[in-house]
């Protein structure tokens, strides 16, 4: 059975309206013996050395070639890879399932760093639609703006954009945290199921539309609430968590988080099983 968190932490999560969100770290650990979690590797991943650094210029490579090169460098043990001239190419840095420092010197196109589980990524530019889609774990920091569907369906990790993001940020989010320093577009948190979204600026219309669960914090103005999204009082736990997260995210250090608006699911449309398969087994 999965190693669920302690009762004390459950209570904390419950007080924040996130009683179903008890998974941390690599989600896959829940499907294996948790004692082996630290030693667990996906097939085909690499044991890399963060102190071994290299650069890769992808100017004349297509995304497949560039991703193969990144994989090859990881297989050689490079743990810090700097990508030069990404120039808005799509699908760069996808499917990386091991620890890695990945730095993009420029902007990414669509589906950048999608389906990753573990790497720490920094993009010194902008990202297009669906950045970090299906991310499982790790940390992604975007220095400029991001397109729509930022962090679609992520299950874990921290996804940070220091600029503004487009529409449908965190659509279908299932865990992890999305933190935005600027504004966000319409339908932020659309159908989100778990996790947290933090927007320091304004958000567009239909915030949290049809959300099942999870929490959204907004620092600025809200265009309108979506169906079944409701305001909830901020607690001390919320404030503590936000302060800690913003510090980790390197943004909004002096932001007064106590004045943020907290949005949760009204649960009038609620008709889904919020448990992970392993949790369900445990409950049975």
């Amino acid at each position: 059975m999965a190693n669920l968190k302690t009762t004390e932490k459950k209570t904390k999560a419950q007080s924040m309206g996130m009683h179903t969100e008890v998974l941390t770290g690599k989600t896959q650990q829940k499907f294996f013996n948790p004692d082996e979690g630290e030693n667990f590797f996906y097939w085909g991943t690499h044991d890399v050395d963060f102190n071994k650094r290299t650069e890769l210029d992808v100017k004349d490579l297509d995304c497949k070639e560039a991703n193969k090169k990144i994989d090859m460098l990881m297989s050689e043990g490079f743990g810090t890879i700097v990508i030069k001239n990404p120039q808005g190419k799509h699908s760069l840095g996808v499917g990386i399932l091991n620890k890695l420092n990945l730095i993009f010197e420029g902007s990414l196109g669509y589906f950048g760093v999608g389906s990753i589980d573990g790497p720490i990524v920094r993009v010194n530019g902008r990202v297009g639609w669906s950045c970090a889609e299906n991310m499982m774990a790790g940390k992604v920091v975007i220095e400029k703006n991001a397109g729509s569907c930022f962090g679609a369906a992520i299950r874990g990790g921290d996804l940070i954009c220091k600029g503004s993001v487009g529409a449908r940020t965190g659509i279908d989010q299932k865990g992890g945290s999305i933190i935005v320093g600027g504004d966000a577009g319409a339908f932020t948190g659309f159908m989100m199921q778990r996790g947290r979204i933090v927007i320091l600026g304004d958000v567009g219309i239909n915030l949290g539309d049809s959300m099942y669960d999870g929490t959204i914090y907004v620092g600025g103005k809200i265009g309108s609430f979506g169906s079944d999204a409701v305001e909830s009082p901020m607690t001390k736990n919320d404030i503590d968590w936000l302060k800690r997260k913003l510090k980790v995210a390197e943004i909004g250090e002096n932001f007064d988080v106590s004045k943020m608006t907290k949005i949760v699911a009204g649960k009038k449309l609620w008709n889904y099983d919020a448990l992970e398969p392993t949790e369900k087994k445990g409950a049975i």
Partner: protein, 313 residues
């Protein structure tokens, strides 16, 4: 899917033909069927430039019916006859392909009457009329079309373009973008998306005397804006009205003699990336379009839902 791109140089001219070709070629994967350009060139502004077609391109995967080239010549003669009857003078004429022409004409009366008369000839369609607008569209990718019409030499201030993936209408020139904002000189539109109240709007606009040449939903945007402007609205006011008047998902660009605008629907369902500086605005469905002309590090962003912006040259 379709890809759109646009750029405007503020305070100077540039090789907009070549720049737009690079941007649209970078978006080829979004629309391989046809490509169109609306370039605002450094013409002398004395005469109208009329681009028109007398038939369709029947090669390259076209869905059009094959016709004998001899009928093209007959239609061209009828166009010339109608021009003469309208009192227009042909200053210069160029045959660009077997089915398309570029005329430089002197004419100073109503453009709607003019267009109706010219288009009364079977299969003849005016692609554009304007003093700076050069609207070119044909089957093939951006480079193919640019090479066919020698667009890489066009100098101008701004332009919009479209790489089309045919969905709800045929692979032919009449359904390709950009669309001319009939009957206004120098107005053109490109669109990425789907409009769901096309027929309701079309019927209403046709009852008001507006003309549709295709069954492509995107044409509605050009006609919708033209009708608003005909009734005194500014371009920006017309575009703002389109956010509620048009139903569906869309991002579109509209260009006039001295301006370029963009509008995004209230769902923000169609992509757009925008770069804006003091002397250049460049935008496209994907960042790679902008990167094709600005490889250096720049800051770009996605406009929000319901956003309308207009820039002047």
């Amino acid at each position: 899917m379709c890809g759109i791109a646009g750029l405007i140089h503020r305070g100077k001219s540039s090789n907009v033909g070549e720049e737009l070709q690079s941007m649209l070629q970078a978006l080829k994967h979004r629309g391989p069927d046809s490509t169109g350009y609306a370039l605002y060139a450094n013409n002398d502004g004395q005469n109208f430039i009329m681009r028109f077609k007398v038939g369709e391109n029947v090669g390259e995967g076209s869905t059009s019916v094959n016709e004998d080239v001899s009928v093209y010549n007959e239609r061209k003669k009828l166009v010339d006859k109608n021009l003469s009857e309208l009192g227009a003078t042909i200053v210069k004429e160029e045959q660009l392909t077997p089915y398309s022409y570029r005329y430089e004409i002197k004419y100073d009366k109503d453009l709607m009457d003019f267009s109706k008369k010219i288009e009364s000839v079977e299969m003849v369609e005016i692609l554009s009329i304007g003093k700076s607008l050069e609207l070119i569209k044909d089957l093939g990718d951006a480079k193919t079309v640019s090479d066919r019409y020698s667009l890489d030499k066009v100098q101008g201030t701004h332009g919009i373009g479209h790489a089309r993936m045919a969905t709800e209408s045929g692979v032919d020139i009449k359904s390709a973008h950009p669309f001319w904002g009939y009957p206004f000189a120098d107005v053109s539109v490109v669109h990425n998306g789907q409009l769901t109240n096309y027929w309701n709007n079309r019927r209403a606009l046709e009852n008001k005397g507006m003309r549709f040449m295709s069954e492509c939903d995107s044409e509605l945007i050009a006609v919708f804006l033209a009708e608003k402007m005909r009734n005194g609205a500014t371009l920006e006011e017309g575009m703002k009205e389109s956010l509620t008047g048009l139903d569906g998902v869309f991002t579109y660009f509209v260009a006039t003699k001295d301006s370029l605008g963009m509008a995004k629907d209230t769902m923000a369902a169609k992509p757009l990336v925008l770069y804006e500086s003091d002397d250049l605005v460049a935008m496209g469905s994907e960042e790679i379009a902008i990167r094709s002309i600005l490889p250096q590090e720049i800051t770009t962003y996605d406009p929000f839902d319901g956003e309308v912006k207009v820039w002047q040259i």
